[in-house]
Amino acid sequence: MTQSVVVQVGQCGNQVGCRFWDLALREHAHVNKRGLYDEALSSFFRNVDLRKSDGGDCCVGGRIQHLKARAVLIDMEEGVVNGILQGPLREVFDSTQLLTDVSGSGNNWAVGHLTYGSAYREAIVNKLRKAAEHCDCLQCFFLIHSMGGGTGSGLGTRVLSLLEEEFPDVCRIVTAMYPSAEDDVITSPYNSVLAMRELTEHADCVLPVENQSLVDIVNKISVMSHGAKPGSVLRKDSTVTSGQGSLSPTEKPFDAMNNIVANLLLNITSSARFEGSLNMDLNEIAMNLVPFPRLHYLVPSLTPLYTLADVNIPTRRLDQMFSDAFSKDHQLIRADPKRSLYLACALMVRGNVQVSDLRRNIERLRPSLPFVSWNQEGWKTGLCSVPPVGHSHSLLALANNTCVKPTFMELRDRFTKLYRKKAHLHHYLDVDGMEQSIFSESLSSLSELIDEYHQLDATKARLIPDAPRLSIAR
């Protein structure tokens, strides 16, 4: 069994990360009734015997002593991390996994990336190495950060390139939270575009999540649960949006949104944690979904987003789940994949779902989904037998789809608006090592990326003939 390490950077990264740990603990507690430290647990948790002087790890198969998250928490201010240390999750982290400063990055990518990135380089690498040493087969780093703030976007992407330097063979999957257009951070377009270049160059896969989509989804769910028709009562123990039953006693404002992202991580790692009839390893994600190295932005969608109390309509419900995964309302960025072009698509299913259910639904949905000419059958599937808590089944779809293009173009427009007026530029150029060329290079990197998607989009309307085959002398 392999292990993964979660690296959460900045306020947003740490909040999402903590929801993930909370839900992961709950999921394992639900499945693991005997209190044994099994392989499934070992993928994201260490089992530590505090009585041993070296605080050493216990082997798989023994009783659970103290679970420690395989995580590194980084923030350049103390608030969020201190909050975690005083909260119910304090037991799963220890001080060696934390790195904080007091003054924050002032919403400035350059401060996070260059100033803190250089000052804390050694310390960060040491913590990453320590986390890696605790694993006996490290497969993947999950990096979580926002794109808008200074610490998340700046230091987060610096951590990404450190990971590439130090652990070139370990897969790097970034969950990046994109700011809304009405973001209260004025410099967020700068931060996002500067960070995008790093993500394009150094990540194996990026899962973009837009704040606005999360807001929309949460609003829709609260409408559903209040104005519900009789018989469609929402279940209380669903993990997706509710924190009930978890360790936190009260819901904080962003918890519902962060829960959705945490569920994304929970589902993407489920196949690595639990058994299934069709395993989908983490290293298979990039292999199957990334046809060209830079085009590694995978649009996630999650279904079901809520559970209705009545669970007695199996097949229709199941098929509805598959349909929902492709609807605009379930995407975690504001985009409509059906109207754009699929390069590849993965379906990660959990629960009691058979290969025939998968096939039936792929056949059913295929005609309505445009795929690139050379990948008409670009489906990758995984079946994991353990469903999320409170659900009978769930589906995570990851789409490599040109529908990310509008999001990126909108970001570029907002960047250009500021950049044309050189607004706030001096805050960045004052930072040691920051030059204006970094701005222009990041902008052209983003433009090239948009252009690559654009060229693929252009093939959509045309009928592409088969490539002429090699001819053989008879």
Partner: protein, 445 residues
Amino acid sequence: MSVVTVQLGQCGNQVGQELFDVISSDAQDGQRKTYSSVSRERFFRQTSQGDFEARAVLVDMEPKVINHSMNRAAKSGRWRYAEASHFSQKQGSGNNWANGFRVLGPRHRDAVEELVRREVEHCDVLAGFIPMMSVAGGTGSGVGTFVTQCLRDVYPSSFVLNHLTWPYGTGEVIVQNYNSVLTLAHLYQLSDALLVHENDAVHRICSQQLNLKQISFGDLNRVIAHQLAGVLQPALTPDSCGAYSGNPLGELVSALACHPEYKLLSACSIPQMASASIAFSTFSWPALLKHLRQMLIANTKMEEGIDWQVRPPPASAGRTSSLTAGGFNASLANLLILRGKDVYSAETGGFEDPAIYTSWLPPAEALSLWKSPVPFDKYEKSATLVSNSQALLRPLDDMVRKAWNMFASRAYIHQYVKFGISEEDFLDSFTSLEQVISSYAQLQC
């Protein structure tokens, strides 16, 4: 004589476990002592405690599937895998053929060869190897190809029959056509013959013949195992002089793979039905064989919905060489295996018809017949046909076409280059498979 099976990757380890399960339950009836003991000697060895252990080596790059297969075997109570017969690592090949073939295979060569050597040493006489794998993933296809190459190196004079599972046309692994092309092109140089099961065809059998509603991989694998066991269980062959054949792989290869350009074998079985229906059905040899013959020439893998319109083209009419010649499936060679009651009275003339074979091989040599009076796997009468024919031409052509279209855009190539497989390696593989396609297409000329 004994056969050593090498189970590779998720698919190979699941199908292998089902195969041994069918064989062990088929061989346990005390009434047919000779049949049982030949079958057991072929696939199992008896420990000093009297338990039966499969003559198998289990290889995977991750532990979950192997553990699962070993537990299921142990639970059967009839047989198990030997404690030290498996090799697994912690992290899979990530669907990347290049990773399996260039990196993981070579890295673990010694360990795997050692397991195989120990298994071979347990055999009084070695009949050959059956590496079982899928062609779609990374471990089965990549490591499997590498291990087949090792077997060739170390045991140059032994028979190697690869059992390959071809993926569904859609939906398992996106790079499956690349992995398949690389696997098939390499194995064509290494193996004596490639026995292929297509998931799509097996899935249809499950849904239409067995009437299963929800089909799992276990269901597919049981159908494959049933057909494979129908081929591999003991039978009386023309060369075996009234006893069960001692050289199953050698005789299979010499019956079917008479030309190095033609190595693709497909199998079909009759009858196949839900076990609840067996008791209410009667079988007669003429009906079974008539259906089986039509399944062969119309190239369907099941009785349900056979196209009875398909006829061999008359010998006088010039045969056309194309992929679409009226649905008629021309054979190079066939092996017909009959098992059960009154097997010696079965009339097999329909399979000796020259019209169903290529013109350049006399029908007497093109058809081989194996028989066994012992009923097989619950069926009072059953027939299995292994065919070296155009049956796989279309799926192979589809596979190469899709891979070639992808290759024309150079999509995903960087993932292979990373592990040392270059564009030229791809081109070589494409070239050799185009040659195979062309050879099979010309069978009808």
